[in-house]
Amino acid sequence: MNGSPIMKRKIIDCDVIAGFWPKGRLPIAPDEVSAALLSHGIREACVVSARGIFFDHAAGNREALSWAEKSRTSSVKFHPTATIDLRRFLGYKEEIREMSRSGIRIFRLFPEYQGWDFDHPGFRRVAAVVAEENGTLFVKGKPGKILAALGSCDVSLLIGTHFYDLAEALALWEEGRKFRLSTTLLHGPGSIDIAREHGGEDSLVFGSGTPISAPGASVAVLEAASLSEDAKEKVLSRTMSALLQGGYHGR
């Protein structure tokens, strides 16, 4: 993808993990992740610590803050992203508030690695506190289940879903529900165009899933999408910039 037009634009990747990967040998140290992103012109990324996903969310969140601080003078800027482990739940409210005071606006949950489902009552509680803090909740799964679990909670919501489940998002948008999708797994032919047509130009945020997934794959799919230049810029950076400022609450 070297030299692709997208690489010349500002890109903020919403979907990046760093740290150590217990499930296999992955190039996931912060400098390895930075190099992978930079090879595709991605110079800003919302990075969550794998320590927070697998072991200790509080320690992981502080690690993410520390990486972000160090990255200020680096080629790739890390936006710290916090997580709460719903298997623990204890102290979630204080942790979200403290991370919010530290400037974090993106809060991620990881049912896919922690083995809980969206009927976990803690999911609604976390979402409510993230909403109070004017943050954005980012979670992967089926949009229908996620929105049903959240009920009337008006949290700014970013969902990572496979294009196999895109129909759920289309139906929910038709009902006027408010949420955005990460492009990470929208690799069906025309999936990004279809999502934009139904959800609007602010409904998509670029995500690569690095280093679990190859960043070049998501870049190539977005490159091939039939979006206007303005819409592409929104997907690549503008919408995420607004979310990082605590803007776009709801939609």
């Binding site: 992955l26 294009f163 196999y164 999936s191 280093p211 190859a214 190539a220």
Partner: protein
């Protein structure tokens, strides 16, 4: 030459933009794909005979298109008949292999019917492309029984096991007549290097899963996987040319 060894023709029940033959040709040209091997989407998700028939009409007039005969283990005699129809007379057909999708048919590839299908494929010298992924019914390990019984037949593990790609590689290590096809949602940058190191670049095949996936997705992921030029030539096309005998077939067709 670049050969897409795993593609589909037809509509999907997902919200994707469908592509007809001409749009596919345009896409192939823009991506540098010289040949594409299709199975019919309707054949794998619904009625295999209807889908094979439709695909036969689509690929017949297009030099860049080849086909897989889709079969369904729940319909053994009909499946064997389909294989005879499309594979017995090589020079009259553009079908070059067999497609089996265990989870969509609800039958693992280790069933007796799939052994019979493998036996027939051996008779027609036709490689079999088998969908493999992480669930028990899709496990790459289900291919081992047939691969042992029919060592002359080539078994291609589509998606190389998906997120279970290490299982795919383990199977390929056990049987030299198994091959690993790399497309899939899983773009773990380690899997291609691991496959090449384990079984050599001669047994790894490029595919896109188009028209279900945007083909750019796998091209983009390969750019992150660090192939050498020699590996790229083999994986992207030479292996498929050799396994499916595309060059020999095209030479014969030019002389008839």
């Amino acid at each position: 030459m670049v050969v897409d060894a795993h593609a589909h023709y037809g509509e999907w029940y997902f919200p994707v933009k469908s592509r007809g033959a001409e749009e596919i040709r345009i896409s192939m040209r823009s991506l540098g794909i010289d040949r594409t091997l299709f199975s019919s989407s309707s054949a794998i998700v619904y009625d295999f005979r209807e889908g094979n028939k439709e695909l036969a009409e689509v690929i017949a007039p297009v030099a860049e298109f080849y086909g897989y005969v889709s079969v369904n283990a729940n319909y053994l005699s009909e499946s064997l008949k389909e294989m005879e129809t499309y594979l017995a007379r090589k020079d009259e057909s553009r079908f070059v292999g067999v497609k089996v999708h265990p989870s969509l048919a609800g039958r693992g590839f280790d069933c007796d019917e799939c052994l019979r299908i493998s036996e027939a494929a051996a008779k027609y010298d036709a490689p079999i492309l088998i969908h493999t992924f992480g669930s028990p019914i899709e496990s790459p390990r289900n291919v081992l029984k047939a691969a042992e019984q029919f060592p002359q037949t080539k078994f291609i593990l589509a998606h190389m096991g998906g997120y279970s790609w290490e299982d795919g590689i383990a199977v390929a290590l056990q049987r030299k007549n198994t091959y690993l096809e790399i497309c899939g949602t899983c773009t773990d940058t380690r899997k291609l290097r691991a496959a090449i190191q384990a079984v050599g670049p001669e047994r790894v095949l490029f595919g896109t899963d188009a028209t279900l996936f945007a083909p750019e997705y796998v091209f983009g992921s390969i750019s992150d996987m660090g192939l050498t030029e020699a590996e790229r030539s083999l994986v992207m096309g030479e292996n498929a040319e050799r396994i499916f005998g595309l060059n020999a077939r095209e030479r014969r067709q030019r002389h008839t």
